[in-house]
Point group: D2
Chain length 144, copies 4
């Protein structure tokens, strides 16, 4: 049994509010629960690559960080979450006004968690899957 | 034989200058040649995650885009380069004043290229490997 | 729209019956339909690694080949399917009498398809998820 | 500093001799040292996929197991090595009389190691790179 961190709501909020890169991109925590996390992003020209599509790095950052949030809901107290590795598949060129991401822990663990995330573009209320990420995350002790 | 794009210098410069996300992050083209590309980034608080380390998404964006630059040096004319998928391994928490990235095409192709990239932190003239990325990129026709 | 190969039933049966490695391992086609494929394997000592668990390579082979079967149900005529790359996560040490695998095409395409597969151990009628694979597959012309 | 297991020669030999799947495939330990391992395989029709190429699963098994051997040269005593995840890129259809694999530990650790491996076909004394694998491996205590 993986223990549920009783303070996970505030832990995950801090993971978002204290990450300068996430604030700079405009990625916002949307919803969360034990083993999952959802985020949103309003797309601007600063998120684009050279052909006008939403940059793979924006999608990867959003999916990685949302996966970290999902993992941290099941993280033992006194630990922090770090990404060991991730893989992302870009299924189609991404165009849209907003991005939404949903991450789910597939296999929780005390030191290693396996998490999946999906990124969708939202345009005129239509959601389209644009990328999928799988990641291995680890929990390490907080350094004093 | 993979043809060398005779205009690759200007093609790759445009891939960097016209990508809003790359400018916003401060990723700069450092050097390039047939089958390879190098970039640099001055680290600021806006590149950090919640524990003060350089965000995995910054490293992934830099490695992905530099790999795209490397692939595009061997890209047929009239095409653009898109990321099909990538995987990144974060080898250690990244701390430093600057990031440097080097990407090399391992297997070029007419429609699919396999590229590797490495990201280093630079601190007091010492380079330390912090992440490695492998990626599949594809060349598609420019839409009119 | 991705065209459905009208002869996909016989195409996929040949992909299994003509692959020496698949026969040698004992991987059997169980069921298939447009965009998906299922296989089974009776586990023997020849499938084990040094600690008695089912080898990661057995799981990877089964998931890769089943994914190829799923992709080929949507493959244009006159083409063959080849694996560009795959990533597999081993969620727990695998122990059991039988393996079952299910693969689904997530994003079909004319030349590149993105497929996911899951491998389960079956023991006393209980199925347990042991590994998940994601893969990029490509369709290339048959050489005369 | 990662400690070097003083008995690593015999540990790695056992990892090969006691793995039924490795013996069944004919994968042989060729050479090893601290942080690296090399293997060889004589190709037979039982290693092929449906078009006559060496199956991706054969290459993945060889690269994964050789990477496990390389990781285990730096494994603490009283532990065993397990694969957390791997990704393999198949660079070209593989044809040849023999396969050779070389694995190198890129980032050793006490519980998690990052390893790379390359697979080559050998034909008439010419070696050709056919696939590259990256993997995350973990060391866990031996269960009594």
């Amino acid at each position: 049994m993986t223990p549920l961190n009783p303070h996970y709501q505030e832990v995950i909020r801090a993971i978002f509010s204290q990450a300068g890169f996430i604030s700079a991109l405009g990625i916002q925590l949307h919803n969360l629960g034990p083993g999952w996390c959802e985020t949103e992003l309003m797309v601007t020209p600063q998120h684009r690559q050279q052909n006008g599509f939403i940059h793979a790095g924006v999608q990867a950052t959003m999916a990685d960080h949302t996966a970290g949030g999902a993992a941290a809901t099941l993280m033992p107290e006194g630990k922090i979450v770090l990404t060991v590795e991730f893989k992302i598949n870009l299924l189609r060129p991404a165009v849209g006004e907003r991005l939404r991401c949903r991450a789910d822990v597939v296999k929780p663990g005390k030191t290693i968690s396996f998490v999946e995330a999906a990124v969708y573009t939202l345009q005129n209320e239509e959601a389209k899957l644009v990328s999928k990420l799988v990641t291995t995350m680890t929990f390490v002790p907080v350094k004093p």
